[in-house]
Subunit: 93 residues, 2 copies
């Protein structure tokens, strides 16, 4: 009953979909977290939807979606806020 | 106990933040749905985060986030899939 983590960035879209699918089909994960920040949030939602609906329709589903914000200082020392998303996929029972 | 709906598109970011805030502060909404499709999903998350954390920190919070897909045919008659998000803000109790 392991949990996988996939952080969405600039790599090709299907890399992430494949990564999510393999977590369930060959690595025996019971849950996979798909996380992203800022402009990659829409890509994370696409990855979760394609992985669960096209590739894992009988094997996994979206369990929960959470959004949040992270604060940090940029190179000029100014406070910057960025939105985050955490989508949890779980094995269908 | 009315519910507001805000569909996120190409208008300036702060238009949507103001729209969400006014639903609670002057229109007496008990809940506001923030919805978006495709590339506007990240903007919808930003609107929800800024509205609740900067402007409504004591008055409203994110209650739930749901993602889904819509299928439709494009101009050439091909099936197209687009991801959607529905973020529900509710009055803090």
């Amino acid at each position: 009953m392991s949990e996988g983590l996939l952080f969405i960035g600039a790599k090709p879209f299907m890399n992430y979909v494949t990564g999510a699918v393999l977590q369930f089909t060959t690595k025996g994960a019971s849950a996979v977290h798909i996380r992203a920040r800022g402009k990659f949030i829409a890509k994370a939602v696409d990855v979760a939807e394609i992985a669960t609906k096209r590739f894992l329709s009988t094997q996994a589903k979206v369990q929960s979606v959470m959004i949040n914000s992270e604060q940090f200082k940029n190179e000029e020392g100014r406070d910057v806020r960025v939105s985050t998303i955490d989508i949890v996929l779980v094995k269908s029972t």
